[in-house]
């Protein structure tokens, strides 16, 4: 019984597989099966993205003591759909002097990698499109393609704000890729595998407990990759309005918008998979456990977004290279040392690693902020006084 529930999705898949192969020639069944799965994946991603958009708008409005969209459908649930319809019917404008082909291609180049990432993400035991043995490498490689689309979009728009946003995008995304990759290495070392399926299975204890420092670095770097506040420099509204996609309208803008949230969804799934134990949760079937974790991670992103102001360009780059990179290297060093000493990675190391990570973060943040404070002149102004 329990086994049936846990393996519900693979069982359905296998049944479909058997049914199609029963009366169709092999190649056609293969094609058809692939097509069906892709459609299922696309539909579920897009629906989750719509749910994310709704959650973000409603959630942030609750953080900001206001109601948020509540006119379209119950609790505003149909608002994202109304927005999507609006975007699709809007005029598609290419700015005068813009590069038509590149302008078009950019939207596609941003959207496609955002979807491709989902090919290797494990949703439940056995439910993964391609269980690549180098799944993590694939994710990182595909993830870094998006920046090309962003730059192309900014360049082809023939707009100075777009160009500025694009320049910031390249600098920021390339910089944050480095600590992000390095933070994943710790997980790979502990799990002894690059396959996401294996990494999930290796987590008797979620890796957030064994690799707290890695989690912090990954989360910080990933939110920079997603350009969410406090690192949303490439579309900083108060400075460069919308950054690289300021000249996009209609469906092309919708593609950028969808890609942003699809990336947020992908990062939520990756964080859940690498650090929170993926689909594993005691007493909860995997296809409920994973969504729970996804929405928890996304909620954390929302919380940060609605709380923090934005960093400046140079401070942001400094944070990547001077802040995150050294502790990412330190994390690899510590993990490697522990592996060497204990010939494995026993669970009780969590008791060592959590205080250690807290200590490192504390010391490092003190050291790092000296730089910022030294440029600022002195302490807070004394509200001093001339009494009448």
């Amino acid at each position: 019984m329990w086994d049936t529930i846990t393996n519900l999705l693979p069982l359905v898949g296998a049944a479909l597989h058997d049914f199609l192969y029963g009366f169709l020639p092999g190649w056609l069944a293969y094609l058809l099966l692939g097509f069906i799965f892709i459609v299922i994946l696309l539909v579920s991603i897009l629906n989750t993205v719509l749910a994310f958009i709704w959650l973000e708008r409603r959630g942030i409005s609750r953080f900001q003591v206001r109601l948020g969209p509540d006119r379209v459908g119950p609790m505003g649930l149909l608002q994202p759909i109304a927005d999507a319809v609006k975007l699709m019917t809007k005029e598609d404008i290419v700015p005068a002097g813009g590069d038509r082909a590149v302008h078009y291609l950019a939207a596609v180049l941003v959207f496609v990698p955002a979807l491709l990432v989902f090919a290797v993400l494990p949703f439940a035991p056995g439910v993964v499109f391609a269980d690549l043995n180098i799944g993590i490498l694939y994710i990182i490689a595909i993830g870094s393609v998006g920046v090309i689309g962003v730059f192309m979009g900014g360049w082809a728009s023939n707009n100075k704000y777009s160009l500025m946003g694009a320049m910031r995008a390249v600098a920021q995304m390339v910089s944050y890729e480095v600590p992000m990759v390095l933070s994943v290495i710790g997980v790979v070392m502990v799990a002894q595998s690059l396959s996401l399926e294996h990494i999930v299975q290796a987590q008797e204890l979620p890796f957030i407990l064994l690799q707290p420092l890695g989690f912090f670095i990954y989360f910080a770097a990933a939110s920079a990759e997603l350009n969410r506040t406090p690192m949303d420099l490439l579309e900083a509204e108060s400075e460069i309005i919308a950054g690289y996609h300021v000249e996009y309208s209609g469906m092309k803008f919708a593609l950028f918008f969808l890609a942003e949230y699809a990336n947020a969804l992908a990062v939520s799934i990756i964080v859940s998979t690498l650090f929170l134990g993926g689909w594993k949760l005691p007493l909860v079937p995997p296809y409920i456990a994973l969504p729970l974790k996804i929405f928890a991670v996304f909620g954390l992103m929302l919380w940060i977004r609605s709380t923090l102001p934005r960093l400046r360009v140079d401070q942001l780059m400094g944070f990547a290279w001077k802040g995150l990179l050294p502790i990412a290297l330190l994390n690899i060093f510590i993990t490697g040392g522990e592996l060497l000493i204990f010939k494995g990675y026993p669970s009780w190391l969590a008791l060592v690693n959590i205080p250690l990570a807290a200590l490192i973060l504390f010391i490092w943040s003190r050291l790092f902020t000296i730089k910022i404070r030294a440029t600022a002149t002195s302490a807070r102004p004394a509200p001093s006084a001339r009494n009448v």
């Binding site: 506040t229 709380t307 400046r312």
Partner: protein, 368 residues
Amino acid sequence: MELRTQPFMVNIGPQHPSTHGVFRLRVIFDGETIVDLEPVFGYLHRGLEKLGEGRTYTQCLTLTDRQDYLSAMNNNLAYVLAVEKLGGIPVPPQATQVRVLVSELQRIASHLFAIGAFINDLGAFFSPFMYMLREREKITDLFEMLCGQRLTHNFLRIGGLSHDLPPEFMPALRALIDSMPRFIDEYDQLLSDNEIIWARSKGVGVLPRDLAINASASGPVLRGSGVAWDLRQADPYLNYPQFQFDIPIGANGDAYDRFRVRLEEMRQSVRIIKQAMESLPGGPVMTPDVNLALRLPKGEAYAHVESPRGELGYYLVSDGSINPYRFKVRAPSFINLTTLRELCLGWKLADAIVILGSIDIVLGEVDR
């Protein structure tokens, strides 16, 4: 191969989320660094000073609260003071005290808006702004109770007020003033020691004390640079000398200090309101027989008040007719803006937005 680079010019505004209205900055960038900056004014010019010359003194009152629409009470006050000074019109004590109340309430409302917009310019996703607006909303509700208007009140009259406080006003004000310090402390805790706000605004846009004085800056911009100059104490009007309050000043003159000064001034305003509430004299609020088609004696008068943005002055010249011969406004945010270029040179684009936000301009007043 050597890459050829050139600075490039960007128009920030007139339509831009952070220019607080239709204000345009012509900026020349070297990468992200500002090489040159030129503010371009006038997109909201309505010719209010000229319009005033064609209206009676009573009608001019409605022009004043459309200038600095975030502190309409202070604008009304400065104009009314100028007319009363020129005409020698007496004001009943109750009206004077209520004027203090409303202008301090307006100061809190305006500073809330300024701080919210400033943090928004730092890149926060509207959250601080919404919290500030929540508090400001209570004050606008009070004003609505007082005179039916939320933004352009037109509550003061030449020689007094349009009417006395409604009976439900004082309990509502008391409730607001009791809760306000708690909110101000909360914002202070949340914002003042925030690492990112420190990093973004400390040391940014330092306005030296001498430059601030020479540029005749006023208000929180001047006090942020460490000059304890507040017209409420330097050249007292109404009955401010009766009240105990401090003038908060900054140490460095940077954007952070200007923000802190505003935060601290809200506390002082709460203090003043508390004292003013205790000592309301009562009695009539309007001097009888002030003619609506008022004729002022020939001459000129200048009256200034400490508006939330600085020294707000009205200069009136009368030729004995029912219209002012000259209706001149000294708009504080216009004059505070004159140092913008010096403040921004060499900083990055993001800093220019922060500096502009810390000066706290209202375009209705800058362009008039």
